[in-house]
């Protein structure tokens, strides 16, 4: 019997709520501020057959959109004697992961004594051991240097905490006491999910629920296909770059050939650069996540489950740095490379569907980790990420200080940093002029500048877009690229790899000034309404000279008045 649409809607809502409640519990109980305040976490329900995603929480981190499917699959393939009450902990990027800091837990779900589904969650830990505090080493050449690597192992064994595994973990990560709290939070969230899922199955029956699951998948696929059909058939190419791998000063090329044919898309990255020595490799699951997230950004109404990805075929061979193999280092995959995947996807799709086009967003998380001794208070590690501008787009100017396209994470309050760690901020401001000019201009990046107040510290930085700026589209200008400057013992120091460095020794009074990229501009800047240009200048987003040069608008030097005739001439001359 075909499922009636109402039961389907009710079960869909029920499953979504379970995933959402798991996210909420994890977020509120977590000790890692990256999870609790930054929302760098996700929860979901996965198919017992092959780990396919059945439901993922609507507030979950986009980057995990399909990654956890791979995580669950590795549990299915590797774990013998899966038992009720087990929970597996896993963070190996090569077993369906992202970077090592994203620690996943998978709980097999038994219903009436039978393995019926998997529940899983993921959350970012501020540290995972390895050569630098925070895990973002920029000079690692093997994954072994990046931190503790866990294949799926039992953290809970038939309902009992596995003290041996816990001890190994806690002996290998910095500030380990707080990680116990994160482990509790993750397990509790999974327990909650199991309880809710049991109730849902009791209520509607296993057969009906799984019939609904199949139907949801079929519908997501149909919906995605109907969207893809609106994209004109053809092959669209776009190329962009990663600055360097942190070890060798050579750009890495992402060369995309995107072919639309009917209701299917073929995404081909086979011409991209080979695997690199440094940590800017990507694992297959993370690269794929970038492809899928792009489609979700363009067509946000498609519910996430395995169905929506069926019409999207990929070719990402292991001969490229986008599908690296062990033991290549991969710390930059989730945070940085994945964003560039989205950027080139947006670039290619903007040619195909200009009425849905986006100029490039800042394209970097600018991962900052600082560890040190706070005199009298003990060892600390903090991890932060810094926002940038979004690209101008078919609807609006780019957002100022957005979070990365792969995440929904917020930054922590500066006052909390200053309270917890011996740092003092000098400024946190809009980085004027950093957005690309356009009819709808790019959003602005920020200047995030702090000094060490007390004790010595060691800072590591894994960023991007220091060499290749976020691009504009349809006549829009590119944004300003990133620029990060240390002042150490009074001397200016710029990292050799511009946005990447590790274990930079900082002493009290030393300053780090991070200047993040804006977003690219959309459309011809000379078409930007004059009154908006005037407003931008009044607000100090850029100066009069920029207004004149890039927008063709002359503003009187001593008043907020546009010189109308001169502006009209300038703009006309540019057109002809």
């Amino acid at each position: 019997m075909a499922l009636d649409p109402i039961t389907l809607a009710v079960i869909r809502g029920g499953l979504e709520q379970i995933a959402d409640e798991m996210d909420a519990t994890l977020e509120r109980m977590a000790f890692s501020p990256v999870i609790s305040d930054g929302f760098d976490r996700a929860s979901g329900i996965y198919h017992v057959r092959d780990g396919e995603v059945i439901m993922q929480g609507p507030r979950g981190l986009p980057n995990f959109i399909c990654v956890m499917e791979f995580t669950v699959r590795s549990v299915i393939e590797r774990v013998k004697d899966i038992a009720d009450g087990d929970v597996y902990i896993v963070n190996d990027p090569y077993l369906g992961g992202t970077h090592l800091m994203d620690v996943k837990m998978v709980r097999p779900f038994f219903y009436k004594g039978k393995l019926t589904a998997f529940l899983a969650n993921s959350g970012h830990w501020p540290d995972i051991g390895g050569r630098v505090p925070g895990g973002f080493s920029t000079r690692a050449t093997e994954i072994y240097q990046e931190g503790l690597r866990l294949p799926p192992v039992r953290i809970m064994d038939k309902g009992k905490l596995n003290q041996d595994v816990l001890d190994i973990i806690l002996h290998n990560v910095r500030v380990s006491a707080e990680r116990q709290g994160d482990i509790i939070a993750k397990i509790t969230a999974l327990n909650l999910g199991a309880d809710r899922l049991t109730k849902l199955l009791d209520r509607y029956g296993e057969a009906t629920v799984f019939e609904a699951v199949d139907e949801m998948k079929a519908r997501s696929e149909r919906l995605m296909r109907s969207h893809i059909e609106t994209i004109p058939d053809g092959t669209y190419e776009f190329t962009d770059y990663i600055d360097s791998d942190g070890v060798e000063w050579e750009p890495l090329e992402l060369k995309l050939k995107l072919t639309v044919s009917g209701s299917e898309v073929h995404v081909d990255f086979s011409e991209s650069s080979p695997p690199c020595r440094g940590p800017l490799n990507s694992v297959f699951s993370t690269t794929l996540a970038g492809v899928f997230i792009t489609f979700k950004h363009i067509f946000p109404d498609v519910p996430i489950n395995a169905g929506c990805f069926v019409p999207i075929k990929v070719n990402i061979p292991t001969t490229t740095f986008l599908h690296a193999q062990p033991p290549r280092p991969v710390a930059g995959c989730a945070a940085e490379v994945c964003q560039r995947v989205i950027d080139v996807m947006l670039g290619a799709l903007s040619q195909a569907i200009p009425d849905h086009a986006y100029a490039a967003p800042m394209g970097t998380v600018t991962n900052l980790s600082v560890g040190g001794e706070n005199p009298g208070k003990g060892y600390y590690v903090f991890y932060s990420f810094i926002g940038g501008g979004y690209g101008g787009n078919f609807l609006t100017d780019g957002l100022i200080n957005g979070n990365p396209t792969i995440a929904v994470a917020r930054t922590q309050a500066l006052e909390i940093f200053e309270f917890r760690y011996p740092v003092l901020f000098n400024r946190y401001t809009i980085r004027e002029g950093s957005g690309g000019a356009g009819k709808r201009r790019g959003g602005y990046g920020v200047i995030f500048e702090f000094q060490i107040r007390d004790g010595n510290a060691s800072a590591s930085l894994l960023g991007e877009r220091g060499r290749f700026a976020p691009f504009g589209i349809l006549g829009g200008q590119s944004a300003q690229s990133a620029e990060h400057v240390f002042t150490l013992r009074g001397e200016e120091y710029r990292p050799e790899h511009v946005t990447k460095d590790e274990n930079v020794h900082m002493e009290p009074g030393d300053v780090l000034s991070l200047r993040t990229p804006g977003g690219g501009g959309f459309g011809d800047p000379f078409e930007r309404p004059v009154e908006l240009v005037l407003q931008d200048v009044r607000r100090g987003y850029y100066d009069r000279a920029t207004a004149l040069r890039e927008y063709g608008v002359r503003i009187q030097p001593d008043a907020w008045v546009v010189d109308v005739d001169s502006t009209r001439m300038l703009r006309r001359r540019q057109r002809s």
Partner: protein, 688 residues
Amino acid sequence: MGTLVGVDVGGTFTDVVVLDETRGNLQIGKVGTTPDDQSIGFITALDGLRVSYPDIDLVTHGTTVATNAVLERDGGRCGLIATRGFRDILELRRRDRPHMYGLTGSFEPLIPRDRRLEVTERIAAEGTVLTPLCEEEVLEAGRLLLAQWAEAIVVSFMNSYANPAHELRAKEILQAEWPHLYVVTSSETLPVFREFERTSTAVVNAYVQPNVGQYLEQLEERLSERGYGSDLFIMQSNGGMMSAASVRNLPLNTVLSGPAAGVIAATRIAAESGFSNLITYDMGGTSLDVSLVQEGKPLPSSGMDLEFGIPLMVSMIDIHTIGAGGGSIARIDQGGLLQVGPQSAGAEPGPVCYGKNGAAPTLTDANLILGRINSNYPIAGVAGDKFDVAGARSVITETIGKPLGLSTEQAAQAIVTVANNRIAGSLRRVSIDKGHDPREFALFSFGGSGPLHVGYLLRELSIGQGIVPYYPGIASAWGCVIADRQHDFVTMQNCLLSELDLAAVEQIFADHLAVGEEMLAGENVPLERVTVVREADISYEGQTHVIRTALPAGRLSHENIAASFRSAYLQHYGRVEEGFSGLEELLAQIPIRLLNLRTAVIGVRTDVRLKDFVRAPETTLAEARKEERKVFVDDGFLTCPVFDRAKLPWDAVLSGPALIEQPDTTIWLEPWCRATVAEGGSLLVEVT
């Protein structure tokens, strides 16, 4: 004993209650809201009743003026003075985006960048002065902002929560130069850390102040013209009322004014029938407000986002709002699934059946087709004297029935079922999500659309008891009439519990109480007594999310605070242990941190019970039965009796399926429900 008036202005309707305690007389009224000047609808509603203004002892009001000022970006022209290097805090937010998927949208802060200036000063996290305040720069900033026609100035400096001296000095300097300038400091508004949220809260206060101030002035003028001689009181988001004079300085306390009044009404009316644990839902034309009441007290919350990028952190009743109401629009999405809401047809054009050119099918249209709403009986005359049933049928058939292969009635039923599930989801969210088992609560159903859904929700959530008050449609106005007076205080501590100075804590609580009592004394409303609620925001060391923990009465110790926290923690996250061993011991090893101390000083007024003012009708159940109507249930029409609520005698028992009609709403008793009329008219609904 006197004449008390409550007026709640909502998005669609303005509701009024006039209670003459001496004569034991209760009048209610309902008119359309007048959005451009809410005071017109306010006075119209009151003028429509038999009321002599000079005889009124107290007018209390629930208003949306503050919220509308922000949502419509219609507030005051403000300026901001910030620490050098930090004027953009307000615009940078916490680095986020409006929608999880889709990269469009930009953000306009309430104060644009050209009216945000910086001055030299710096205070460290521990409160020490690193750079002294440059006083000339403050004066100069004030001059520049006034030259830009700023009406109010917000002063927000880094770490002012730890040491407010620079902010207070800046305010002093500005007010010495411009004595009439409205200056708001962040530390006086919200003395806790997180610079963005604190600044935003102070800015909201300054931004809505002119709108609220002018509105109250107009209202007071209209009232006094008519002879009202006492003070006007306003409902706050925390569920207590405050004089209009105080609200002028603290308008930020009124964003949930009306919904909070509804929760207060629910709490007190349910108590009249002996219920103290409630899930309440107030469903009107466009939105659904859900909250939880535990042991007679609404759950508190410390703040909310007014919209993207505009957090407001003040003490308020925890009210969860979604777009679900009678006007919610049904549609089939591109994936072929039926969706209801959050978009609403609103009051204009309203549902198709209103006959005002509404073209989209709504929940009200579906309820009408199913026979649950009387087609000859539109609420408050919104659709003249008859609904357009044919219009509603044809729209639902075309837009929902045909695409899904359902008959018109089946399609209408599908709309109601999907809506019911959305409501159920949000009821679960306020209960289960926060560790409460809905089965331990009674479901309090009100608002114009709420009682149509009570039976379904009871069964869906396995709740044993539903309560429909005597006047579901004007509950918020009743809440205004009976509300206590309440003032909230917060002081940050932010230290490990083991290092907490208990003597200092007692002093802080004593100071809170002293200020609260002084505020209560300054306002001329008779009080029965003053009660004090002491709470603390506590977490395990390292956590971001705190648990608002009620502190034990009497002498505080580190041990009894810890015990209160641990039990509150398990209440919230009760599954720490369930079926898994070893986790709770791990948790016990982690130190506890106390973030904020909170006090609510409540001026308790003489209890006024609705049931004392509702007279028992002298009619029998048979006389209350006015007609029969066919209602579509489970794939077929059932003939159901229709009762007139005003004629239902106390203790009468009704079995579903049945309809109960009254001017402000309709109650649908599902076939699996039974209802008893309690003394005072509340309907107690159970699943049989």
